[in-house]
Structure formats: C-alpha cells, structure tokens
Subunit: 236 residues, 2 copies
C-alpha cells in the first residue's frame, strides 16, 4: 500500500461478501501474501480508511483494491470497537509488520452484500496472496475478530432475507422449487423439509407457476416458477 | 469535561433515545449551556469516546453523564462518517470552543432505544444546560448531522417495530385497543383507520381479550387486552 496516502490509523472498514453459487453460501476471503514470516492467514477484505474518505467510499475502494470487485451493492452492517479487538497474540506479528502503531486500537465498520458468484470473479491485488470464495461452513480461524464479523453479517443477512426476500434475484428468472429451496437453505443454513417448504412458499404468494418446465434434464422435468409481477421491490 | 481523560479525537457516539408518553413519541435532546456565545442549540446526547473504552460502554457513559439516565437498553444503529459531517458553518464556533482540533473529521456511532418516558426522567449534567424530551414532530435544527441521525434511528425503530413488535412492553400490562393504536401511531408516525387497525391486530394473533374492562372512566368502559402468553419474546 502506498505510504503517501494519509490514513485514519484507528478507523477501518471490513467487507463481508456473501456469494451464492446456486447451491451454497460462500464468503470472500483474502489470503495474505506469503512473505516468509509465517503470516499465511485468511481475513476479510478490509483496510484503514483514508483521511477525507467516506465510509461507503472506503468499503468500495477496499473491495476493488483487494479483490478487483466493482459495483457490489454494499450495506453497512455493524461497527466493532472492542478496545482489544486487534490485540490478540495471533495478530501481533502481522500488525508489527504492517502498521505504524501496532498497539493502537482500531474501530472497524463492517459492510455486507449478497452476490451471484458467477458474476463476481475476484482477482487478488498484487499485495494480497489470494482472493477466494470460502464455503460458509468451512471458514478457518481468521485474523482479528473477523470470524465474529462474519457471524454478525450472516445473522443480519438471514434477518433481512426473512423480512424482504432479498436474494431471489440470485436465481435464474425462471426457477424450480428445488432451486428456490436451495437458496433458502443456503442462506438460513438449515435443512428444510420439502413439503413444509412448499406450503410456506405458496402461502407467501411471492412466486407463481409458469407454463414451462425444465429442459434438458434426465429426470422428470420440474415446473418452472417466477417472481410475481409487482414483487419487483424485492431486494431493497 | 475533565481534560485528563484521553479521548479518541475522531470517534464519538450519539444516542437517540425515543420516549413514549402513552400518546406520542419524543426524543431526548441536550440543550447546550448558555456560555454567552450564542451557542444555545440542541443536540443529541453524545461525546468523543475515551481511549480503551468500548462503543457500547461509551454510549452508556454518555447517557449517564449528560442526562443521568441508567439502564437504557441501547442498540447500535448506524455509523456516520461523512468527511464533512462536522464542518458545517453553524457548528464552527462550538467546535472552536470545545475541541482541540476543530477541523478534524469525526466518525460517530449512533445508538437508539425506546423507553417509557415515565420511567426515565432526564437530569442534565452540570455542563449541559438542559436535558429534555422533544416531540418527534417538533424537532428544531440540531447540531452537526443530528437531524439525519434521528431520522435514520426512527426508520430503524419503525422497521424493528413492524418486524418484532418491540414497544408493546411500553403499554400497561392490560390495555385498550385505543392505547395500542396510539402506540402504533406514535411509532409509525401515521394516522390509522380504527377499523382497519383492529382487523390487522386480530389477524396478527399477538394479543387477546381479557374479561376485564376499563375502570373509572366517564365514557363507556372499553375492553382490556393483554399480550398472549408465549409472546414474551417480543422486544428482542
């Protein structure tokens, strides 16, 4: 990172980007570049904010700088300010190398988004080792309190999903009930009973059957559904 | 404020305390002490956070220091970080008097709560002029971006209310449908049609009629209702 930019040394942003691949929920992680100090660890894309930079602006910049992602609809999630959140032994070495004041308390504002993985292929920045999608059920120990930041973002995503069905736009424009169930299961992280799920979905009156069926499948083709017209406010 | 405490000069908290008086929604405001500089203005209770102090801790401290309020269930709301949020002309004089670095950008983490006004009587700190409940429909121009902070908190409160009926605990344990409608109207800031409101409430199955009626009223006493047993998770 260039040293000429003035940063707010105790304010950062971190982004929790959830990616849906049609089946499962993943989170975008950055793997540190191996500089031979045993620092090969994973973390969320995040960075200190620049002087004079807005918070949303910083979150978008970070996502572009670290993973080459653009046009992600980020939503502010939660601000983490535990005075000791960066003082864990496991993070000490990294801070000593990368920060001017490794002891200084850092408050971080987290952001989250839910995207269709096929549309967002991350490329690591030159100073990051890797930018990768990690299955939500398989997240290792991350830097700082990033595991907690992911948990809070997942909770908010789930709550938002229950309330306003964000995420339906990640499905094809016509989809099977199985595909819809997979989206629900991926986001809620719960296995759902097929019959109960279908009853609930019918009750909600958000989708409707089309005259079409799946094509090119080996099994009996399933009916295709779509979001009802007028339900286009979904996702807000 | 004592000068001996080290503060984070670019991090603050601000509290939006909504108070319900049985009829209307109010917001707790602090009126600056008149120090003869034309600085008599109103603002939210808030302050810079201390070094080594957590965010929740800071919000609780500020509320106690400025308005003598304790045990308010604060919820983190939103973080405001516009680089120019404290650079408005109207705030300049105040900053010059009260801040070491009046030009410095301040990011503020806002908190909100909804309380029964009768239980929380604010007393101003010695360095505040007044701590007062102001009707939400009658809020003057506040310091910095505090009007925006109130708006965002109101929006979150309304959304949370729709979703999980927080606030029902502000009613007496047995209440009339009129009282419940007043609570709804105060929080949503909308006038509701009595018949439609009653239909909606019945549909939601959250309350039930008791055998009791109002006592000591001049008009025809109304039926008393209560929250159904098992709905006690309300407010989370």
């Amino acid at each position: 990172m260039p040293n000429s930019i003035e940063v707010n040394s105790n304010l950062s942003v971190d982004c929790v980007i959830f990616g849906f691949d049609g089946e499962r929920l993943n989170v975008l992680l950055i793997e540190e570049k191996d500089i031979g100090q045993g620092l090969l660890r994973k973390r969320l894309p995040g960075d200190l904010i620049h002087k004079g930079e807005g918070l949303d602006e910083a979150a978008n910049r970070v996502l572009f700088e670290l993973a080459s992602l653009k046009n992600v609809l980020l939503k502010q999630c939660h601000t983490f300010g535990d005075p000791h959140r960066v003082n864990d032994e496991k993070d000490k070495k990294w801070l000593e190398i990368y920060r001017n004041n490794p002891e200084e308390r850092v408050v971080t504002v987290s952001y989250y988004a839910l995207v269709k993985m096929a549309n967002f292929v991350p490329n690591p920045a030159s100073f990051a080792g890797e930018a990768l999608w990690q299955n939500i059920q398989d997240i290792p120990e991350l830097a700082f309190d990033h595991n907690e930041i992911v948990e809070v973002a997942l909770w908010k995503l789930q709550r938002h999903f229950e309330l306003s069905k964000i995420g339906y736009e990640l499905l094809p424009s016509k989809f099977t009930l199985n595909q819809l169930q997979q989206l629900h299961e991926a986001i809620t992280q719960e296995e759902l009973d097929k019959r109960n799920f279908r009853k609930k979905i019918v009750r909600e009156k958000i989708i409707e059957a089309t005259d079409e069926k799946q094509e090119g499948v080996l099994h009996k083709p399933a009916r295709l559904y779509r979001i009802k017209p007028g339900q286009s406010a979904l996702g807000n």
